[in-house]
């Protein structure tokens, strides 16, 4: 199983990004170096989707959340726990086995047992 999240760090301003852009999202500099993040972070916001895109209809309702990862980048992901998320909760994220852009998060308190 993959652990951690692939990210890029800007050599110029130090900002981290999770995406495949050729330039830094903050300052536009082109020199980026790959780095592996642990996936640990804090819940920034979340919502529960009752009306999903058609392709995800069989999965609704599902919870989407924005996580502020340690080291800075923001991540959009799905909630993989039966507990309720809340803003400020410490969570751990892992990429989906098939779809690497899809990150599953659960509380850090649950990750020790898996």
């Amino acid at each position: 199983m993959t652990t951690g999240l692939q990210a890029k760090a800007c050599a110029s301003c130090g900002v981290f990004s999770l995406d495949s852009s050729l330039a830094c999202r903050k300052c536009g500099a082109a020199e980026l170096s790959p780095i592996l993040l642990t996936g640990a972070g804090t819940v920034y916001s979340y919502c529960s989707i009752q009306v999903p895109p058609t392709a995800l209809r069989d999965q609704a309702p599902y919870v989407l959340l924005i996580v502020q990862l340690d080291k800075g980048p923001i991540s959009l992901g799905r909630w993989a726990s039966n507990s309720e998320p809340r803003i400020g909760m410490l969570v751990m994220g892992e990429p989906d086995a098939q779809k690497p852009d899809l990150i599953w998060f659960k509380p850090q308190s649950e990750t020790a047992t898996t």
Partner: protein
């Protein structure tokens, strides 16, 4: 063209703003097709696409071409067809305004984008759910008088709060409806247009972020803040000088955040502004006297021109929901996840 007293032979450029036609109807080439239909034989015809801001782009380009002395007269048409089609297809097509390659698998929707903003705003500033839905109640009340509104029935706060969940905490009445619509704007040098014209004091376009994960915060959006700064500087005005603003209320929450980002109200005070009607008639500035997208509907590619149409009617003193003595108005149009923002500042002559 009749309203502006302009002969079609004078039109040197046509911009057609449309977003969904190529996906839902399989039709592109809208520039030449519409030029042919209107008999604009002397016009260069160009389609513009920028999601919800598709036709505002055309107005911006037209203003720049006129200012540069390149264009004689520019006609900008915004048009969208969204009803009578399979709802799933329409919803799916709208998602093409996100970065599908990066965020498509996660299941993000625009309602979710604003629901995430909403919950964070409530957390950071103590904004209450009821305050947010008051934006819908206000705009639906404004829309009653507007004959071009899709919804001409006011709603109560209770109805908004009891409507079904779309993306918790966002509910049905927090969302604008799918709509068919079209609007047109004619641009020309100040010396060549009649006394029905209004002055364009500023036309600004700013590129924002096309991915939600590019944002450091979901309670303010830099593209709107930057566009407002540039627009006020270009027009030589301050936010407090504006009599009215037609802003991009695709969701009730967007009206609160946009009002803050445009400097119409202080940061974080969107909730209080709704409670105390700072952005209603009798307040500091009237926001969305047309009823906004929440009442008029949001025919995506037509919305930018539609907002300008509403402000022009106000500045002419001819709006069915008139802001008394309106001299200075503004439009704010945002595409995708505020991936691009257009602002126009307009003044009565």
């Amino acid at each position: 063209m009749t309203d502006a007293g302009v002969d079609r032979s004078e039109v040197s450029h046509l911009f057609v703003g449309n977003f969904l036609g190529s996906i839902l109807l399989g039709q592109q080439l809208l520039g030449p097709i519409i030029a042919n239909q209107l008999g604009l034989t002397n016009a260069e015809a160009i389609a513009t696409e920028g999601a919800c801001s598709s036709s505002a782009i055309g107005v911006h380009l037209g203003v720049e071409l006129v200012a540069a002395g390149v264009a004689r007269k520019v006609l900008v048409v915004g048009v969208e067809k969204m009803t009578g089609l399979d709802a799933d297809r329409v919803t799916g097509a709208l998602m093409s305004a996100t970065d599908l390659a990066h965020e498509g698998d996660v299941g993000l929707t625009f309602a979710a984008f604003w629901a995430l903003s909403m919950r964070r705003h409530m957390h950071e500033f103590g904004t209450r759910r009821e305050q947010i839905s008051l934006a819908t109640v206000k705009n639906r009340r404004h829309g009653v008088k507007n004959t071009y509104s899709q919804f001409r029935k006011a709603i109560t706060l209770e109805e908004a709060l009891d409507s079904r969940l779309i993306s918790d905490p966002l509910r049905l009445y927090d969302c604008c409806p799918a709509t068919d619509g079209a609007a047109a704007v004619l641009l020309g040098p100040a010396s060549s247009v009649g006394d029905r014209a209004v002055d364009v004091l500023a036309s600004v376009q700013v590129t924002g972020r096309s991915r939600i994960t590019d944002y450091d915060s979901l309670t303010h959006f830099p593209a709107t803040e930057e566009a407002a700064r540039r627009a006020y500087a270009a027009a030589g005005i301050e936010a407090s000088d504006l009599d009215l603003v037609e802003l991009h209320d695709c969701f009730s929450m967007a009206e609160l955040v946009d009002s803050e980002d445009l400097g119409l109200i202080p940061k974080g005070q969107g909730g209080i502004a709704m409670d105390e009607a700072w952005t209603d008639f009798g307040g500091r500035v009237v926001v969305n006297p047309s009823g906004g997208l929440l009442s008029k509907g949001h025919p995506v590619g037509a919305t930018g021109c539609g907002q300008i149409f509403e402000v022009v009617r106000q500045l002419r003193g001819e709006h069915p929901n008139q802001v008394e003595g309106a001299q200075l108005g503004m439009t704010h149009n945002a595409g995708g996840t505020q991936a691009l923002v257009n602002i126009h500042v307009l003044a009565a002559r």
